[in-house]
Symmetry: C2
Subunit: 426 residues, 2 copies
Amino acid sequence: MTLRVGIAGLGTVGGGVVKLLAAQAGLITARAGQEIKVTAVSARSRRDRGFSLDGFTWHDGPVALAADPDVDVVVELIGGSDGPAKALAEAAIAAGKPVVTANKAMLAMHGPELAALAEARGVTIAYEAAVAGGIPVIKVLREGLAGNGVSRVAGILNGTCNYILTTMREEGRDFADVLADAQKLGYAEADPSFDVDGIDAAHKLAILAGLAFGARIDFAALHIEGIRRISDLDISFAQELGYRIKLLGIAERKEDGISLRVHPAMVPLSRPLATVDGVFNAVQLEGDFSGPVFLRGRGAGEGPTASAVVADLVDIARGVRIPVWGQAATSLAPARVLPMAAHEGAYFLRLMVVDQPGVLADVTAILRDHGISLESMLQNGRKPGESVPIVLVTHETSEAAVNGALARIAKLPSVLEEPALIRIEP
Amino acid sequence: MTLRVGIAGLGTVGGGVVKLLAAQAGLITARAGQEIKVTAVSARSRRDRGFSLDGFTWHDGPVALAADPDVDVVVELIGGSDGPAKALAEAAIAAGKPVVTANKAMLAMHGPELAALAEARGVTIAYEAAVAGGIPVIKVLREGLAGNGVSRVAGILNGTCNYILTTMREEGRDFADVLADAQKLGYAEADPSFDVDGIDAAHKLAILAGLAFGARIDFAALHIEGIRRISDLDISFAQELGYRIKLLGIAERKEDGISLRVHPAMVPLSRPLATVDGVFNAVQLEGDFSGPVFLRGRGAGEGPTASAVVADLVDIARGVRIPVWGQAATSLAPARVLPMAAHEGAYFLRLMVVDQPGVLADVTAILRDHGISLESMLQNGRKPGESVPIVLVTHETSEAAVNGALARIAKLPSVLEEPALIRIEP
């Protein structure tokens, strides 16, 4: 018996899948109970990719690949929420073939609808590779924690941002400088906005939240901030205060809805997420019976992502059929996503002020007016008449109160720049 | 549709499963695609356990439970490698019913044979709860990393030992003192040897190794050391040298066989395992494509273990049928387990010596004779004529060389106690 695989998209991940299936053929046959073999491929060009395409049927278009009678399962590695990727997934489902995909954008935007199509047709969509690469977080959440109500998911979901933040801290360099280097090294794209503006992490968070809460997530409802505004000054203050700055994706169940947000956060050094550095990803899950479960591994790259795609193929070969979202797609409830203004937590605020008498009195009076109390205040060094940073760490308060106070503080004549705000995540 | 569950053993875990299934009935039905309901139980006595047994059929013996026509799946929570637990598993399999178990001893001793019986009968044995409680490590290894050759598994697999070692370090107390407290708190058994002598961790390691390497593991071939001989002195030297002492279970694929060992180890503070404290468990897996995958969570207790049992029940309800050991039980190869003398690594050695001229010359001459070179040497304070500790950290060397050298060193008149040896794990 052979499971015949058609792969659309032969970039880094597609090549990795071809290589992995060839390198581990014996082991995979033993584990899957049948041979798993690539029979057909499709890509934008037939250029040399460093591995042979001999023995694979070539298709010019992905939809033709889906229709190939020698293809039992379709691996979609084209990318993009719509266009050819979605057309391929729909064609495969219509042909009664399971789909394996690494496409977080497509799942975040169209996951429930595609799942409903697939379930109506009796096939599955598998997407372990879409979130956190080599970490089997989809499997852990959907199967390993199936007995739990999940109250919170928090993760470092974008390796590019984590690499940039780690390098800024370790080398004391600023964002633009490190980004330029990351682009040269291939850790960041020429157009880095998908990564550094938090969109990629948000796609992954939307998928995890849908699974964790059995909910339909409206992607437009997520609060998304990237890391462009993180300064080396904030990184060194974080160090001084016992935090690390990480771009986190957080999904939390609250009394009146779900909080869904991607933003830089101050993470206390004692927390497992704080020490996940470089290109590593990590996810912390809170189950009501399991307690906290923390996972850490490589979030991207040829090997880890291919490992995830092949795990899905082995599942399919083993006959595993689990609902795409952990429950029938038609049973997913629309999530009530809370507005960011309703967020409550502690805040790190940094002001650049003229070092002159009375500034602090003005700032603290405004905070008092908005009901915000301080846990600590930090001002390093004195430069009378010049610009100095003041750091304020608040007790738990509401985002609405902080926004109100900052709008007034920003208008004080002695405050020289837009204040910096970084949420503290316990 | 209903999956009808019979539970044998109503201790902490059994009670947890009854409570979890009741508390999350709606969520589990949605996820499993059918109701999962306890219909029958069996235990040593009908004493009050804080939850009602109304509605469950009571069986005096586990084998009768397996035969109950209203039971579709048997949950074995009796414990013990043989006796009633094994009789129950065999009876359930013979009756064509899947078995869910938390019994690491039974799986470590009889796993492959039971799996062969189960596979011949077309049923499964599920055992997520047998290793690391709330961490779905069986699923991650057997399914999530199915495309990988696994080269190494290293874990903190016994919460009792980790709690004792953590408390010794944090409170500067000695082993016996902390153990007595742990017994009072219920973290350690009245007879603690299963935990503190490393047997429990070794059972779990044998299971992980069998899965990782597709091998039949001869439990008697494991090297097992516990934590009784760890002194507060070693813990403070570890601190000084940048290590934490952890009881690790390690399975490594080497060129000529498999290394399988449970022993206290010095773990560099920069490694994820070093900062896993208290009753938490953690496992580090090395896949050849995935790279390192690190998992951390609660290793024991009512909630986490019940979460693991219920995940297995949900899998069964969903129709998931994966070979017990990740490949056909009949295809498991006998593992060639390397003798501990063949181990190579760096060592922490602590001698208690009379502080007098010439001691160090004698010791270093012996090390030289055995080809052992030192990375560092530590002697804090001086007490001429009195007993002082000397710590030696070696470069990579062989266990055989270290044993040879220590046998001679122990006989030096100036060496007052049996030298302490703790392996350093990178």
